[in-house]
């Protein structure tokens, strides 16, 4: 076995994933090759360091906190519905106002003639003088008399 081939087998050798035949060839190479033996030794040291690493367990009460977290999220999701209702309600009000405005302007344009009459009645061109024998005329005559005094 060449060193290049042996190098590829270091990792599966450590994981005991070599076939019997591969393992025998690998062992024979390692016995004869100092360089590969030393590299394999380094790999084994690293593998042993992994094995000696502390195994960390979840802290006390972890499951309880997970379940509480889930329940909190579920409650929050449900609590969104009243807010959603308020948003829908406000949207309906805005929609009704908009429809009313649109309908109003539509009716205004549909009866254009009436609109003209209204505007012309407000114009000063159509102003008519007060009749002297009316109540308005008497009031104006009295006011003029007071001003002359």
């Amino acid at each position: 076995m060449r060193c290049s081939k042996a190098k590829k087998l270091f990792s599966p050798y450590i994981d005991t994933a070599l076939t019997k035949a591969e393992e025998e060839l690998f062992d024979a190479h390692i016995r004869d090759c100092n360089e590969c033996r030393s590299r394999l030794e380094e790999m084994k040291v690293m593998h042993n360091a992994f094995c000696s690493m502390e195994r960390l367990n979840a802290p006390y009460g972890f499951t309880t906190r997970v379940m509480a977290n889930i329940n909190e999220k579920r409650t929050k999701r449900w609590s969104l519905f009243p807010v959603l209702g308020m948003v829908i309600e406000a949207s309906v009000v805005v929609l009704v106002i908009m429809i009313g405005t649109r309908a109003g302007s539509f009716l205004g344009t549909a009866f254009t003639g009436q609109t003209t009459n209204i505007s012309s009645s407000l114009s000063l061109d159509t102003f008519e003088a007060v009749q002297p024998n009316s109540i308005g005329g008497a009031y104006l005559a009295m006011m003029e008399g007071n001003n002359e005094k």
Partner: protein
Amino acid sequence: MKKLDDTAILLRFKNGDTSAFQEIVLAYQDSIFNLCAYMIGDPVNAEDVAQDVFLKAYQNLKAFKPNASIYTWLYRIAINTCIDYKRKVSFESVFKHQQHDEDIIANEPSGDPSPESIYGSKQTAAALKKALGKLSRKLKSVIVMKEIEGLSYEEIADTLEISIGTVKSRISRAREELKELMKGFNL
């Protein structure tokens, strides 16, 4: 690790039995916490990440199809959650000028080891943790699952949805890189 009867527990969950999910958390909490702690290199924040893993699992369990086991599916969620967390932390560290990976290493024994203690287990473990923090996400995922969680090649392949050949070559590359990185830390 106690493995559950996936089919029975899924059926109970789909029928609205929330205690079924609690059983899943109880069965896998230690494995997921341990995986998260080594993946993010920070046991303090590992609980938050592990909590997030189970929350995501809860939200997606109804859609889970039992063509994989629950625990490999949980490992997949955990690996992705840890990768997202590390991305977030490294993005934030750009602004904070911090190297998060090295925070936990600071607690390890420091100083130049003598030739006699060069392979001392404590120093080796400290250098290994440090080297692990420098490994790429892809290589770190496979080596942590293999060496720390003790998963088989098949289980890692199922978790990451890659071929067994890819798993073997990544593990081999991870070991080679770790060995070189550890030499760089004078060990």
